[in-house]
């Protein structure tokens, strides 16, 4: 499934880029990411508790950053497996200067297999949308702090999510 969208973040491009390549920040931004350990140059072992509402599954796998061209482009490649099936995908992120921040052009491909693929047909798109929205909402919050500062609090995310999810989703389209 293809996903494509544009996100407007408040922080400058360099700061956003810095966040995107920082495993600690990424772990906090990827919804449900419980573990992101560096295993090599730009490769990580990941555990993600992905899902929505009461529907959840734990996925183990790898994440890789590719095609790094600071501060304008990078690709994230995720490949994971869990009891409900597999979850993999890749996303190209293009960062552009924008007034008051950064515009992130996103284009990705998500594949799911196993139980989720066979039973979650009507929800996969929505879930992907939601997780991406959460990711960028968190990223925006993270990028709003300076490197080395304490990360934003959990409560902030919750509130932020509620505020941002509406308008973020609107610019996030499936093709």
């Amino acid at each position: 499934m293809k996903l494509e969208g544009i996100h407007q973040l408040d922080a400058p491009r360099e700061r956003v880029y810095q966040c995107l390549v920082d495993p600690e920040v990424l772990q906090r931004c990827i919804p449900g990411c419980e573990r992101l350990e560096k295993t090599g140059d730009n490769t990580f072992a990941a555990t993600i508790r992905a899902g929505v509402g009461s529907i959840k599954g734990v996925f183990n796998g790898t994440a890789r950053l590719e095609d790094l061209r600071e501060p304008e482009h990078l690709r994230i490649v995720v490949d994971s497996k869990g009891a409900p099936g597999f979850l993999k995908g890749s996303g190209d992120l293009d960062l552009e200067h924008a007034e008051n921040g950064t515009k992130v052009n996103y284009s990705g491909d998500v594949q799911v297999g196993g139980t989720i693929a066979s039973v979650g047909q009507r929800m996969i798109q929505g879930t992907a949308k939601m997780m991406a929205t959460q990711f960028f909402t968190s990223l925006n919050a993270e990028a709003g702090t300076q490197a080395g500062e304490p990360p934003p609090q959990h409560g902030f995310f919750r509130t932020a999510l509620r505020w941002f999810s509406g308008w973020l989703r609107n610019i996030f389209r499936k093709h």
Binding site: V52, S54, I55, A83, V119, L161
Partner: protein, 288 residues
């Protein structure tokens, strides 16, 4: 077909349920009718550690009038709502919506509270409670709070329920004056879920013009929402066919309709507009 193991508690009171839920904020789940949760558990997409069954708390299933409000207990079944003479008389949108849910077996066991808390983007009740401006009473370990339906649905399968909170009651202002209501749905041929579902409450002035419209939409977006564009466009009009048609075009304002195997985003948008128009027309026709 076979769920993972879990522990099961059937508290006798809501207070007990709240404290059981608090005992394992991450792993405990409330079981009401079970018609959203159990299917997910059977596919092992949901694997709670503990089920707190509130289906046995008899005091949680009721439909009653109190002052200018209708109070509905969270574990009231779809069928109880469908077959309530009281509601048929004072707020027919609820029975109208109830009878379009799933099938008779599901309606006999599934509950309004369970459905709302699950927040399936294609469930029927969210549209109805939005159109009725309902308030939801949530009870947690420390306090009880009331949330407007509009604020309750946060995202896909995500509500404003905080960890440890239980939906206890749905409160609806008794419709008054001249009004008409209707729920129109395009069901998915396999699952019966709403491809689109439109719940309309139409308040009329004495001259038959539109005083206020409140409209809930389900199935279209990742969560149910109020179609404010339609409501605004309808307000003050004489609700003639033209006004209805024009207003209905706003159903997807600000929303990118879902797309799935059965209906593309474009087609779902069309279904939303058509059912919106039909729902408003039906509501108007029913207005006293």
């Amino acid at each position: 077909m076979i769920p993972a193991q879990f522990d099961y508690q059937a508290p006798a009171t809501l207070e007990e349920a709240v404290s059981l839920l608090a005992s394992d904020l991450d792993g405990a789940k409330i079981l009401a009718g079970g018609h959203s949760l159990i299917p997910a558990m059977k596919l092992r997409l949901a694997q709670p550690q503990l089920l707190v069954d509130i289906g046995r708390i008899k005091s949680l299933a009721y439909i009653r009038e109190e002052g200018d409000e209708i109070l509905i207990g969270a574990t009231t079944t779809h069928y109880q709502l469908e077959s309530s003479d009281l509601l048929q008389r004072i707020c027919p949108l609820l029975p109208d919506c109830a009878k379009s849910i799933g099938d008779v077996q599901v309606r006999n066991k599934g509950t309004i509270g369970g459905s709302l808390a699950h927040a399936d983007p294609a469930a029927d009740w969210p549209a109805a409670v939005l159109a009725l401006g309902a308030e939801l009473v949530l009870v947690g370990p420390k306090a009880e709070r009331t949330v407007k339906a509009e604020d309750f649905f946060v995202d896909l399968f995500t509500t404003d329920l905080q960890p440890g909170e239980i939906l206890r009651e749905i409160r609806i202002k008794k419709p008054s004056g001249r009004f008409g209501q209707s729920y129109q749905k395009a069901p998915h041929p396999a699952s019966g879920f709403a491809v689109v579902g439109i719940a309309v409450h139409l308040g009329l002035n004495d001259d038959g013009s539109c005083k206020a419209a409140a409209i809930g939409v389900t199935g279209v977006d990742v969560k149910a929402y109020r179609a404010k564009g339609v409501e605004a466009a309808l307000s003050g009009t004489t609700i003639d066919d033209d006004a209805i048609a024009q207003a209905s075009l706003h159903v997807c304002d600000g929303v990118d309709p879902n797309s799935d195997l059965y209906a593309s985003s474009e087609y779902r948008g069309q279904l939303a507009r058509v059912h919106m128009r039909r729902a408003i027309q039906a509501a108007k026709a029913k207005a006293q």
